[in-house]
Protein backbone atom coordinates (compact mmCIF):
# COMPACT_ATOMS: atom_id res chain seq x y z
CA UNK A 1 0.00 0.00 0.00
CA UNK A 2 2.82 2.39 0.86
CA UNK A 3 4.56 1.49 -2.39
CA UNK A 4 1.46 2.17 -4.45
CA UNK A 5 1.34 5.53 -2.72
CA UNK A 6 4.85 6.34 -3.95
CA UNK A 7 4.03 5.24 -7.51
CA UNK A 8 0.97 7.47 -7.42
CA UNK A 9 2.95 10.46 -6.24
CA UNK A 10 5.45 9.95 -9.05
CA UNK A 11 2.67 9.58 -11.58
CA UNK A 12 1.02 12.80 -10.42
CA UNK A 13 4.31 14.71 -10.18
CA UNK A 14 4.11 18.11 -11.86
CA UNK A 15 6.33 21.11 -12.49
CA UNK A 16 4.98 24.67 -12.66
CA UNK A 17 6.20 26.24 -15.90
CA UNK A 18 6.23 29.90 -16.84
CA UNK A 19 6.54 29.87 -20.62
CA UNK A 20 7.64 33.00 -22.45
CA UNK A 21 7.34 33.47 -26.19
CA UNK A 22 10.72 34.19 -27.74
CA UNK A 23 11.08 37.88 -28.50
CA UNK A 24 11.90 37.27 -32.16
CA UNK A 25 8.40 35.85 -32.61
CA UNK A 26 6.49 38.64 -30.90
CA UNK A 27 4.61 40.78 -33.44
CA UNK A 28 2.35 42.69 -31.06
CA UNK A 29 2.91 45.39 -28.48
CA UNK A 30 2.94 44.92 -25.59
CA UNK A 31 4.36 41.37 -25.77
CA UNK A 32 2.03 38.64 -24.51
CA UNK A 33 2.36 37.69 -20.85
CA UNK A 34 3.91 34.28 -20.13
CA UNK A 35 1.73 31.17 -20.08
CA UNK A 36 1.49 29.41 -16.72
CA UNK A 37 1.21 25.64 -17.09
CA UNK A 38 1.52 22.72 -14.71
CA UNK A 39 3.47 20.13 -16.73
CA UNK A 40 3.50 16.42 -15.81
CA UNK A 41 6.94 15.23 -14.74
CA UNK A 42 6.60 12.02 -16.71
CA UNK A 43 5.35 13.82 -19.83
CA UNK A 44 7.15 15.49 -22.72
CA UNK A 45 7.33 19.19 -23.57
CA UNK A 46 5.89 19.00 -27.14
CA UNK A 47 2.71 17.49 -25.69
CA UNK A 48 2.00 20.89 -24.12
CA UNK A 49 1.39 22.40 -27.57
CA UNK A 50 -2.43 22.24 -27.37
CA UNK A 51 -2.26 24.30 -24.18
CA UNK A 52 0.37 26.78 -25.35
CA UNK A 53 -0.54 27.46 -28.97
CA UNK A 54 -3.92 29.17 -28.37
CA UNK A 55 -2.20 31.43 -25.87
CA UNK A 56 0.35 32.81 -28.34
CA UNK A 57 -1.15 32.21 -31.78
CA UNK A 58 -2.47 35.74 -32.23
CA UNK A 59 1.00 37.24 -31.91
CA UNK A 60 3.01 34.81 -34.06
CA UNK A 61 4.50 35.88 -37.39
CA UNK A 62 3.39 34.05 -40.57
CA UNK A 63 4.98 30.67 -41.18
CA UNK A 64 4.91 26.98 -40.33
CA UNK A 65 4.85 26.04 -36.65
CA UNK A 66 7.56 23.78 -35.27
CA UNK A 67 7.51 24.02 -31.51
CA UNK A 68 10.68 23.85 -29.44
CA UNK A 69 11.85 25.14 -26.07
CA UNK A 70 14.99 26.53 -24.55
CA UNK A 71 16.13 27.23 -21.01
CA UNK A 72 18.60 30.11 -20.77
CA UNK A 73 19.54 29.57 -24.40
CA UNK A 74 19.96 25.79 -24.15
CA UNK A 75 17.63 23.97 -26.58
CA UNK A 76 15.68 21.36 -24.64
CA UNK A 77 15.71 17.76 -25.87
CA UNK A 78 12.03 16.97 -26.29
CA UNK A 79 12.48 13.20 -25.99
CA UNK A 80 13.73 13.49 -22.40
CA UNK A 81 10.85 13.54 -19.90
CA UNK A 82 10.07 17.00 -18.58
CA UNK A 83 10.86 16.04 -14.99
CA UNK A 84 14.30 14.75 -15.94
CA UNK A 85 15.10 17.97 -17.81
CA UNK A 86 14.10 19.95 -14.74
CA UNK A 87 16.18 17.82 -12.35
CA UNK A 88 19.17 18.07 -14.66
CA UNK A 89 19.08 21.75 -15.58
CA UNK A 90 17.68 23.22 -12.36
CA UNK A 91 19.75 21.71 -9.54
CA UNK A 92 18.39 24.50 -7.37
CA UNK A 93 14.71 24.03 -8.27
CA UNK A 94 13.21 27.17 -9.77
CA UNK A 95 9.48 27.56 -9.25
CA UNK A 96 8.02 28.39 -11.60
CA UNK A 97 10.53 27.07 -14.10
CA UNK A 98 11.04 29.82 -16.71
CA UNK A 99 11.20 28.43 -20.24
CA UNK A 100 11.18 30.07 -23.65
CA UNK A 101 8.98 28.63 -26.38
CA UNK A 102 9.68 28.97 -30.11
CA UNK A 103 7.44 28.21 -33.08
CA UNK A 104 10.01 29.10 -35.73
CA UNK A 105 13.68 28.42 -36.43
CA UNK A 106 13.93 24.81 -35.28
CA UNK A 107 17.62 24.05 -34.45
CA UNK A 108 17.83 20.92 -36.59
CA UNK A 109 21.61 20.72 -36.26
CA UNK A 110 21.30 20.14 -32.52
CA UNK A 111 17.84 18.66 -31.89
CA UNK A 112 16.41 15.61 -33.63
CA UNK A 113 13.23 16.51 -35.50
CA UNK A 114 9.87 16.53 -33.75
CA UNK A 115 6.80 16.18 -35.95
CA UNK A 116 4.29 16.72 -33.19
CA UNK A 117 2.59 14.09 -31.09
CA UNK A 118 3.53 11.21 -33.41
CA UNK A 119 7.24 11.75 -32.90
CA UNK A 120 6.80 11.80 -29.13
CA UNK A 121 4.61 8.70 -29.20
CA UNK A 122 7.05 6.68 -31.27
CA UNK A 123 10.02 7.86 -29.23
CA UNK A 124 8.13 6.55 -26.21
CA UNK A 125 7.20 3.24 -27.88
CA UNK A 126 10.77 2.67 -29.07
CA UNK A 127 12.04 3.30 -25.54
CA UNK A 128 9.48 0.85 -24.17
CA UNK A 129 10.63 -1.77 -26.69
CA UNK A 130 14.21 -1.15 -25.65
CA UNK A 131 13.29 -1.55 -21.98
CA UNK A 132 11.40 -4.76 -22.75
CA UNK A 133 14.44 -6.12 -24.59
CA UNK A 134 16.71 -5.26 -21.66
CA UNK A 135 14.44 -6.96 -19.15
CA UNK A 136 13.18 -9.97 -21.10
CA UNK A 137 15.72 -10.45 -23.87
CA UNK A 138 13.14 -9.64 -26.54
CA UNK A 139 10.47 -7.04 -27.21
CA UNK A 140 7.77 -9.34 -28.53
CA UNK A 141 5.17 -8.30 -25.97
CA UNK A 142 5.52 -4.66 -27.01
CA UNK A 143 5.59 -5.50 -30.72
CA UNK A 144 2.49 -7.68 -30.34
CA UNK A 145 0.43 -5.12 -28.43
CA UNK A 146 -3.04 -4.76 -29.87
CA UNK A 147 -3.89 -1.44 -31.46
CA UNK A 148 -6.39 -0.66 -28.72
CA UNK A 149 -3.85 -1.44 -25.98
CA UNK A 150 -1.29 0.77 -27.68
CA UNK A 151 -3.77 3.62 -27.89
CA UNK A 152 -4.83 3.15 -24.28
CA UNK A 153 -1.23 3.02 -23.06
CA UNK A 154 -0.26 6.16 -24.93
CA UNK A 155 -3.39 8.01 -23.86
CA UNK A 156 -2.72 7.19 -20.22
CA UNK A 157 0.77 8.64 -20.55
CA UNK A 158 -0.26 11.63 -22.64
CA UNK A 159 -3.04 12.63 -20.29
CA UNK A 160 -0.87 11.66 -17.32
CA UNK A 161 -3.97 11.19 -15.26
CA UNK A 162 -4.86 7.57 -15.60
CA UNK A 163 -2.47 5.44 -13.57
CA UNK A 164 -4.95 2.55 -13.38
CA UNK A 165 -5.23 2.35 -17.18
CA UNK A 166 -1.46 2.47 -17.52
CA UNK A 167 -0.94 -0.29 -14.95
CA UNK A 168 -3.61 -2.44 -16.59
CA UNK A 169 -2.05 -2.26 -20.05
CA UNK A 170 1.59 -2.32 -18.97
CA UNK A 171 1.01 -5.43 -16.86
CA UNK A 172 0.34 -7.31 -20.10
CA UNK A 173 3.89 -6.56 -21.20
CA UNK A 174 5.21 -8.75 -18.37
CA UNK A 175 8.06 -6.43 -17.48
CA UNK A 176 8.99 -7.99 -14.19
CA UNK A 177 9.50 -6.27 -10.87
CA UNK A 178 12.99 -6.26 -9.41
CA UNK A 179 13.06 -9.25 -7.10
CA UNK A 180 14.52 -9.28 -3.66
CA UNK A 181 13.18 -9.38 -0.14
CA UNK A 182 12.25 -5.71 -0.34
CA UNK A 183 10.22 -6.01 -3.54
CA UNK A 184 6.64 -4.90 -3.35
CA UNK A 185 3.78 -6.36 -5.29
CA UNK A 186 1.49 -3.90 -7.01
CA UNK A 187 -1.58 -6.03 -6.36
CA UNK A 188 -3.50 -5.24 -3.21
CA UNK A 189 -6.35 -7.74 -2.82
CA UNK A 190 -5.64 -11.37 -2.04
CA UNK A 191 -6.87 -13.10 -5.21
CA UNK A 192 -5.08 -10.66 -7.49
CA UNK A 193 -2.08 -10.93 -5.24
CA UNK A 194 -1.97 -14.68 -5.76
CA UNK A 195 -2.34 -14.33 -9.51
CA UNK A 196 0.19 -11.52 -9.61
CA UNK A 197 2.64 -13.58 -7.63
CA UNK A 198 2.30 -16.35 -10.19
CA UNK A 199 3.00 -13.99 -13.04
CA UNK A 200 5.92 -12.51 -11.19
CA UNK A 201 7.40 -15.95 -10.69
CA UNK A 202 7.08 -16.68 -14.39
CA UNK A 203 8.65 -13.34 -15.27
CA UNK A 204 11.37 -13.99 -12.73
CA UNK A 205 12.34 -17.17 -14.49
CA UNK A 206 12.69 -15.42 -17.83
CA UNK A 207 14.34 -12.16 -16.95
CA UNK A 208 18.08 -11.68 -17.04
CA UNK A 209 18.28 -9.34 -14.06
CA UNK A 210 19.05 -6.34 -16.23
CA UNK A 211 17.51 -2.99 -15.32
CA UNK A 212 16.88 -0.22 -17.91
CA UNK A 213 18.79 2.87 -16.75
CA UNK A 214 19.41 6.25 -18.32
CA UNK A 215 22.11 8.20 -16.55
CA UNK A 216 22.74 11.91 -17.04
CA UNK A 217 26.14 12.88 -15.64
CA UNK A 218 27.68 16.30 -15.44
CA UNK A 219 30.75 17.41 -13.58
CA UNK A 220 32.15 20.35 -11.68
CA UNK A 221 35.75 20.98 -10.75
CA UNK A 222 35.14 23.23 -7.75
CA UNK A 223 33.55 22.25 -4.50
CA UNK A 224 30.29 23.73 -3.25
CA UNK A 225 28.26 23.47 -0.08
CA UNK A 226 24.78 24.14 -1.40
CA UNK A 227 22.96 23.37 -4.62
CA UNK A 228 22.48 27.11 -5.06
CA UNK A 229 26.20 27.42 -5.75
CA UNK A 230 26.14 24.68 -8.37
CA UNK A 231 27.08 25.98 -11.84
CA UNK A 232 24.39 25.37 -14.43
CA UNK A 233 24.62 23.25 -17.55
CA UNK A 234 25.48 25.58 -20.42
CA UNK A 235 25.81 23.04 -23.20
CA UNK A 236 24.64 19.51 -23.87
CA UNK A 237 28.25 18.59 -24.53
CA UNK A 238 28.79 19.07 -20.79
CA UNK A 239 26.32 16.30 -20.02
CA UNK A 240 27.31 12.69 -20.52
CA UNK A 241 24.27 10.62 -21.38
CA UNK A 242 24.74 6.96 -20.54
CA UNK A 243 22.12 4.55 -21.80
CA UNK A 244 23.41 1.50 -20.01
CA UNK A 245 21.49 -1.47 -18.59
CA UNK A 246 22.43 -2.41 -15.07
CA UNK A 247 23.15 -6.02 -14.19
CA UNK A 248 21.96 -6.68 -10.67
CA UNK A 249 24.21 -8.89 -8.57
CA UNK A 250 22.55 -9.84 -5.33
CA UNK A 251 24.73 -11.28 -2.60
CA UNK A 252 23.10 -13.45 -0.01
CA UNK A 253 22.28 -11.67 3.21
CA UNK A 254 22.37 -8.14 1.88
CA UNK A 255 20.41 -6.03 -0.57
CA UNK A 256 21.61 -4.08 -3.60
CA UNK A 257 21.64 -0.38 -2.77
CA UNK A 258 21.31 2.73 -4.90
CA UNK A 259 24.96 3.34 -4.13
CA UNK A 260 25.85 -0.10 -5.48
CA UNK A 261 23.96 0.81 -8.65
CA UNK A 262 25.83 4.08 -9.18
CA UNK A 263 29.12 2.35 -8.44
CA UNK A 264 28.36 -0.30 -11.04
CA UNK A 265 27.33 2.25 -13.66
CA UNK A 266 30.38 4.47 -13.10
CA UNK A 267 33.14 1.94 -12.40
CA UNK A 268 35.86 4.44 -13.31
CA UNK A 269 35.22 6.33 -10.11
CA UNK A 270 34.40 3.68 -7.58
CA UNK A 271 36.63 0.79 -8.52
CA UNK A 272 38.50 0.91 -5.23
CA UNK A 273 35.53 1.62 -3.02
CA UNK A 274 34.97 -0.68 -0.08
CA UNK A 275 31.59 -2.30 0.44
CA UNK A 276 28.71 -0.02 1.27
CA UNK A 277 28.02 -1.59 4.64
CA UNK A 278 31.48 -0.57 5.77
CA UNK A 279 30.74 2.99 4.69
CA UNK A 280 27.43 3.27 6.48
CA UNK A 281 28.88 4.54 9.77
CA UNK A 282 30.61 7.40 7.99
CA UNK A 283 27.41 8.16 6.13
CA UNK A 284 25.52 8.36 9.39
CA UNK A 285 28.19 10.67 10.76
CA UNK A 286 27.85 12.86 7.70
CA UNK A 287 24.11 12.92 8.19
CA UNK A 288 24.52 14.09 11.76
CA UNK A 289 26.85 16.86 10.68
CA UNK A 290 24.38 17.95 8.01
CA UNK A 291 21.36 17.95 10.30
CA UNK A 292 20.44 21.60 9.68
CA UNK A 293 20.58 21.27 5.90
CA UNK A 294 18.77 17.97 6.11
CA UNK A 295 15.95 19.59 8.07
CA UNK A 296 15.86 22.46 5.61
CA UNK A 297 15.81 20.01 2.73
CA UNK A 298 12.98 18.03 4.29
CA UNK A 299 10.98 21.16 4.96
CA UNK A 300 11.45 22.36 1.41
CA UNK A 301 10.42 18.96 0.12
CA UNK A 302 7.26 18.98 2.20
CA UNK A 303 6.44 22.54 1.17
CA UNK A 304 6.72 21.59 -2.48
CA UNK A 305 4.32 18.72 -2.00
CA UNK A 306 6.84 16.17 -3.17
CA UNK A 307 7.52 12.79 -1.63
CA UNK A 308 9.28 13.21 1.70
CA UNK A 309 12.14 10.74 1.71
CA UNK A 310 14.38 12.78 3.98
CA UNK A 311 16.62 13.51 1.04
CA UNK A 312 19.71 15.55 1.60
CA UNK A 313 22.91 16.38 -0.18
CA UNK A 314 24.84 13.13 -0.38
CA UNK A 315 28.59 13.31 -0.16
CA UNK A 316 30.49 10.19 -0.91
CA UNK A 317 34.10 10.20 -1.99
CA UNK A 318 37.61 8.84 -1.82
CA UNK A 319 40.84 10.76 -1.86
CA UNK A 320 41.61 10.47 -5.58
CA UNK A 321 38.27 9.70 -7.16
CA UNK A 322 35.23 11.71 -8.14
CA UNK A 323 32.68 12.73 -5.57
CA UNK A 324 28.90 12.47 -5.91
CA UNK A 325 27.71 15.97 -5.11
CA UNK A 326 24.09 15.53 -6.16
CA UNK A 327 21.90 12.64 -7.23
CA UNK A 328 18.29 13.15 -8.23
CA UNK A 329 15.53 10.82 -9.34
CA UNK A 330 11.98 12.09 -9.93
CA UNK A 331 12.88 15.31 -8.14
CA UNK A 332 14.04 13.71 -4.91
CA UNK A 333 17.50 12.99 -3.55
CA UNK A 334 17.27 9.46 -2.13
CA UNK A 335 19.77 8.25 0.41
CA UNK A 336 22.40 6.15 -1.28
CA UNK A 337 21.78 3.23 1.07
CA UNK A 338 18.15 2.85 -0.02
CA UNK A 339 17.36 -0.58 -1.55
CA UNK A 340 17.73 -0.19 -5.29
CA UNK A 341 14.76 -2.46 -5.93
CA UNK A 342 12.50 0.06 -4.21
CA UNK A 343 13.97 2.89 -6.29
CA UNK A 344 13.37 1.01 -9.54
CA UNK A 345 9.89 -0.26 -8.73
CA UNK A 346 8.63 3.11 -7.54
CA UNK A 347 10.55 5.83 -9.36
CA UNK A 348 10.76 4.55 -12.94
CA UNK A 349 9.14 6.41 -15.83
CA UNK A 350 6.25 4.94 -17.84
CA UNK A 351 8.60 3.71 -20.58
CA UNK A 352 10.19 1.55 -17.84
CA UNK A 353 13.47 3.43 -17.63
CA UNK A 354 14.91 4.77 -14.42
CA UNK A 355 16.33 8.22 -15.16
CA UNK A 356 19.12 9.27 -12.79
CA UNK A 357 20.72 12.73 -12.75
CA UNK A 358 24.17 12.80 -11.16
CA UNK A 359 26.57 15.65 -10.53
CA UNK A 360 30.17 14.64 -9.88
CA UNK A 361 33.01 16.71 -8.53
CA UNK A 362 36.07 15.78 -10.54
CA UNK A 363 39.64 16.50 -9.37
CA UNK A 364 41.19 19.28 -11.42
CA UNK A 365 44.02 17.06 -12.60
CA UNK A 366 41.63 15.20 -14.88
CA UNK A 367 40.44 18.37 -16.54
CA UNK A 368 43.82 19.23 -18.05
Amino acid sequence: MAAMEAVKYVWEGAIPLQIHLHQSEVTTLPPPPPALILAPRIGYLPLLLPHIKPYFSSTLPPGVDTIWFDYKGLPLKWYIPTGVLFDLLCPDPQRPWNLTVHFRGYPGNVLIPCEGEDSVKWSFINSLKEAAYIINGNCKNVMNMSQSDQVELWNSVMNAGNLEAYLRVSSKLKLGIVEDEYSVNFSSCSTKSRQGAGETDMAGQVKTGRIPIRLYVWSVSQDFDDVEDLPEVESWDKVSYINQPLEIIIEEGRYFTLYDAVRTLLPEYFANRPLINEELPREEGADEQNSPSEDASRNRTLEDGEVDTSGNLQTCCTSSNAEIKLLRIQGIEPKLEIPFSWVVNNLMNPERFLHICVCLKVPKVNNT
Partner: protein, 227 residues
Protein backbone atom coordinates in the same frame (compact mmCIF):
# COMPACT_ATOMS: atom_id res chain seq x y z
CA UNK B 1 32.27 -17.44 -28.59
CA UNK B 2 29.53 -20.01 -29.10
CA UNK B 3 27.52 -18.56 -26.24
CA UNK B 4 27.58 -15.12 -27.83
CA UNK B 5 26.59 -16.39 -31.24
CA UNK B 6 23.87 -18.59 -29.86
CA UNK B 7 21.78 -15.55 -28.94
CA UNK B 8 23.11 -13.26 -31.65
CA UNK B 9 24.56 -10.65 -29.30
CA UNK B 10 28.02 -9.27 -28.53
CA UNK B 11 29.72 -8.05 -25.41
CA UNK B 12 31.51 -4.68 -25.61
CA UNK B 13 34.87 -6.44 -25.73
CA UNK B 14 33.69 -8.78 -28.49
CA UNK B 15 32.46 -5.76 -30.44
CA UNK B 16 35.92 -4.25 -30.18
CA UNK B 17 37.53 -7.47 -31.42
CA UNK B 18 35.02 -7.88 -34.23
CA UNK B 19 35.56 -4.26 -35.29
CA UNK B 20 39.30 -4.70 -35.56
CA UNK B 21 38.93 -7.88 -37.60
CA UNK B 22 36.28 -6.31 -39.81
CA UNK B 23 38.34 -3.19 -40.58
CA UNK B 24 41.35 -5.33 -41.53
CA UNK B 25 39.27 -7.58 -43.75
CA UNK B 26 37.54 -4.65 -45.41
CA UNK B 27 40.89 -3.09 -46.23
CA UNK B 28 42.09 -6.37 -47.69
CA UNK B 29 39.05 -7.07 -49.90
CA UNK B 30 38.07 -3.47 -50.69
CA UNK B 31 41.38 -1.76 -51.50
CA UNK B 32 39.87 0.95 -53.69
CA UNK B 33 37.09 1.82 -51.27
CA UNK B 34 37.52 4.14 -48.26
CA UNK B 35 38.58 2.28 -45.12
CA UNK B 36 36.68 1.68 -41.92
CA UNK B 37 38.64 3.21 -39.05
CA UNK B 38 38.28 2.84 -35.31
CA UNK B 39 37.50 6.01 -33.36
CA UNK B 40 38.32 5.72 -29.64
CA UNK B 41 35.79 7.55 -27.50
CA UNK B 42 34.76 7.90 -23.91
CA UNK B 43 31.25 8.40 -22.68
CA UNK B 44 32.74 10.40 -19.82
CA UNK B 45 35.44 12.59 -21.40
CA UNK B 46 37.04 13.34 -18.06
CA UNK B 47 36.99 9.78 -16.78
CA UNK B 48 40.22 7.93 -16.00
CA UNK B 49 39.13 4.88 -17.94
CA UNK B 50 41.43 2.11 -19.12
CA UNK B 51 38.84 0.36 -21.23
CA UNK B 52 38.89 1.09 -24.93
CA UNK B 53 35.49 2.31 -26.06
CA UNK B 54 34.65 3.67 -29.49
CA UNK B 55 33.06 3.08 -32.86
CA UNK B 56 33.89 2.32 -36.48
CA UNK B 57 33.55 5.01 -39.12
CA UNK B 58 33.51 5.08 -42.92
CA UNK B 59 33.50 8.52 -44.52
CA UNK B 60 32.80 10.23 -47.83
CA UNK B 61 31.14 7.24 -49.43
CA UNK B 62 29.53 7.77 -52.78
CA UNK B 63 26.92 5.02 -52.96
CA UNK B 64 26.73 3.19 -56.32
CA UNK B 65 22.96 3.35 -56.35
CA UNK B 66 23.09 7.07 -55.85
CA UNK B 67 25.37 7.62 -58.82
CA UNK B 68 23.52 5.30 -61.13
CA UNK B 69 20.13 6.71 -60.26
CA UNK B 70 21.34 10.23 -60.88
CA UNK B 71 23.28 9.61 -64.03
CA UNK B 72 20.82 7.28 -65.71
CA UNK B 73 17.68 9.17 -64.87
CA UNK B 74 16.39 6.74 -62.28
CA UNK B 75 17.28 3.53 -64.00
CA UNK B 76 19.53 0.99 -62.31
CA UNK B 77 20.25 -1.25 -65.28
CA UNK B 78 23.81 -1.90 -66.25
CA UNK B 79 26.77 -3.53 -64.62
CA UNK B 80 27.07 -3.48 -60.86
CA UNK B 81 29.62 -1.20 -59.31
CA UNK B 82 31.20 -1.98 -55.98
CA UNK B 83 33.35 1.09 -55.55
CA UNK B 84 33.69 4.71 -56.63
CA UNK B 85 37.06 5.36 -58.14
CA UNK B 86 38.33 8.81 -59.02
CA UNK B 87 37.75 8.21 -62.71
CA UNK B 88 34.18 7.19 -62.09
CA UNK B 89 33.68 10.29 -60.00
CA UNK B 90 34.87 12.43 -62.88
CA UNK B 91 32.62 10.64 -65.32
CA UNK B 92 29.65 10.88 -63.00
CA UNK B 93 30.18 14.56 -62.38
CA UNK B 94 30.37 15.28 -66.08
CA UNK B 95 27.27 13.25 -66.74
CA UNK B 96 25.44 14.88 -63.87
CA UNK B 97 26.19 18.38 -65.07
CA UNK B 98 25.04 17.59 -68.59
CA UNK B 99 21.90 15.59 -67.96
CA UNK B 100 20.13 16.12 -64.64
CA UNK B 101 22.03 18.76 -62.65
CA UNK B 102 21.81 16.48 -59.60
CA UNK B 103 24.58 16.74 -57.06
CA UNK B 104 26.60 13.78 -55.95
CA UNK B 105 25.56 12.61 -52.47
CA UNK B 106 28.12 11.58 -49.89
CA UNK B 107 27.51 9.36 -46.87
CA UNK B 108 29.30 8.87 -43.56
CA UNK B 109 28.63 5.57 -41.79
CA UNK B 110 29.28 4.75 -38.13
CA UNK B 111 28.97 1.35 -36.50
CA UNK B 112 28.24 1.91 -32.82
CA UNK B 113 27.74 -0.67 -30.09
CA UNK B 114 24.31 -0.52 -28.44
CA UNK B 115 24.44 -1.61 -24.80
CA UNK B 116 20.69 -2.13 -24.51
CA UNK B 117 20.35 -4.59 -27.38
CA UNK B 118 23.99 -5.74 -27.16
CA UNK B 119 24.36 -5.48 -30.94
CA UNK B 120 26.01 -3.08 -33.41
CA UNK B 121 23.90 -0.25 -34.78
CA UNK B 122 24.40 1.55 -38.08
CA UNK B 123 24.27 5.35 -37.94
CA UNK B 124 24.68 7.48 -41.04
CA UNK B 125 24.39 10.99 -42.39
CA UNK B 126 24.26 12.30 -45.91
CA UNK B 127 25.41 15.52 -47.50
CA UNK B 128 26.14 17.20 -50.83
CA UNK B 129 29.61 18.03 -52.06
CA UNK B 130 29.35 21.44 -50.40
CA UNK B 131 28.64 19.83 -47.03
CA UNK B 132 24.95 20.68 -46.92
CA UNK B 133 23.07 17.88 -45.10
CA UNK B 134 20.37 16.00 -46.99
CA UNK B 135 16.75 15.84 -45.93
CA UNK B 136 15.06 12.51 -45.34
CA UNK B 137 13.10 12.59 -48.58
CA UNK B 138 16.33 13.23 -50.48
CA UNK B 139 17.97 10.27 -48.74
CA UNK B 140 14.90 8.19 -49.51
CA UNK B 141 15.63 8.56 -53.22
CA UNK B 142 19.14 7.19 -52.70
CA UNK B 143 17.94 4.10 -50.88
CA UNK B 144 17.30 0.75 -52.56
CA UNK B 145 13.68 0.42 -53.65
CA UNK B 146 12.65 -2.01 -50.91
CA UNK B 147 14.14 0.23 -48.21
CA UNK B 148 12.37 3.31 -49.55
CA UNK B 149 9.11 1.37 -49.43
CA UNK B 150 9.69 0.22 -45.85
CA UNK B 151 10.66 3.73 -44.83
CA UNK B 152 7.40 5.05 -46.21
CA UNK B 153 5.39 2.48 -44.27
CA UNK B 154 7.09 2.51 -40.88
CA UNK B 155 9.77 5.14 -40.62
CA UNK B 156 9.46 5.37 -36.84
CA UNK B 157 10.73 1.85 -36.31
CA UNK B 158 12.98 1.44 -39.35
CA UNK B 159 15.19 4.47 -40.02
CA UNK B 160 14.82 7.65 -38.03
CA UNK B 161 16.93 10.50 -36.78
CA UNK B 162 18.38 9.89 -33.35
CA UNK B 163 21.08 11.51 -31.31
CA UNK B 164 24.48 10.00 -32.06
CA UNK B 165 25.64 8.38 -28.79
CA UNK B 166 29.10 9.95 -28.99
CA UNK B 167 28.70 13.05 -31.16
CA UNK B 168 25.50 14.40 -29.55
CA UNK B 169 24.16 15.39 -32.94
CA UNK B 170 21.22 14.12 -35.02
CA UNK B 171 22.19 11.15 -37.18
CA UNK B 172 20.07 8.63 -39.04
CA UNK B 173 19.86 5.30 -37.26
CA UNK B 174 18.83 1.89 -38.54
CA UNK B 175 16.77 0.52 -35.66
CA UNK B 176 18.41 -2.48 -33.99
CA UNK B 177 15.53 -4.17 -32.18
CA UNK B 178 15.41 -7.27 -34.42
CA UNK B 179 19.16 -7.65 -34.94
CA UNK B 180 19.92 -10.39 -32.43
CA UNK B 181 17.15 -12.62 -33.84
CA UNK B 182 18.34 -12.58 -37.43
CA UNK B 183 22.02 -12.64 -36.44
CA UNK B 184 21.22 -15.83 -34.54
CA UNK B 185 19.58 -17.33 -37.63
CA UNK B 186 22.47 -16.18 -39.80
CA UNK B 187 24.99 -17.67 -37.40
CA UNK B 188 23.16 -20.99 -37.34
CA UNK B 189 23.26 -21.12 -41.13
CA UNK B 190 26.95 -20.31 -41.15
CA UNK B 191 27.64 -22.81 -38.40
CA UNK B 192 26.06 -25.60 -40.44
CA UNK B 193 28.36 -24.88 -43.37
CA UNK B 194 31.53 -24.36 -41.38
CA UNK B 195 33.06 -27.12 -39.31
CA UNK B 196 34.29 -25.00 -36.44
CA UNK B 197 31.28 -22.73 -36.16
CA UNK B 198 31.32 -18.98 -36.59
CA UNK B 199 33.96 -16.80 -35.02
CA UNK B 200 33.50 -13.40 -33.45
CA UNK B 201 35.76 -11.99 -36.14
CA UNK B 202 33.10 -12.73 -38.74
CA UNK B 203 30.19 -11.17 -36.82
CA UNK B 204 30.37 -7.71 -38.38
CA UNK B 205 30.86 -9.11 -41.88
CA UNK B 206 27.63 -11.08 -41.55
CA UNK B 207 25.92 -8.17 -39.83
CA UNK B 208 26.82 -5.63 -42.51
CA UNK B 209 25.86 -8.05 -45.27
CA UNK B 210 22.29 -7.61 -44.00
CA UNK B 211 22.21 -4.09 -42.58
CA UNK B 212 24.29 -2.66 -45.40
CA UNK B 213 21.62 -3.67 -47.89
CA UNK B 214 19.24 -1.29 -46.16
CA UNK B 215 21.31 1.66 -47.33
CA UNK B 216 22.88 0.12 -50.42
CA UNK B 217 26.30 -0.46 -48.87
CA UNK B 218 27.58 -3.71 -50.36
CA UNK B 219 30.11 -6.23 -49.12
CA UNK B 220 32.37 -8.07 -51.57
CA UNK B 221 31.37 -11.71 -51.91
CA UNK B 222 34.93 -12.88 -51.13
CA UNK B 223 34.70 -11.16 -47.77
CA UNK B 224 31.71 -13.27 -46.81
CA UNK B 225 33.36 -16.52 -47.90
CA UNK B 226 36.59 -15.84 -46.06
CA UNK B 227 36.22 -17.42 -42.61
Amino acid sequence: MDTSFFNGTLSPREFSLASSAFADKWRRFNPTFPSWTWVPCKKLPWAPSDEVEGYLKLENVCLPGSSKVDSEGGSCVGKEETSCSDNEDLIDNATLVQSSHHEVHYYDFHIVYNASYRVPVLYFRAYCSDGQPLLLDEIEKDLPACSAKLLLESKWTFISQEEHPYLNRPWYKVHPCGTSEWMKLLALGDAVQAKNGVSIEQYLVSWLSVVGQVVGLKIPLEMLNDS
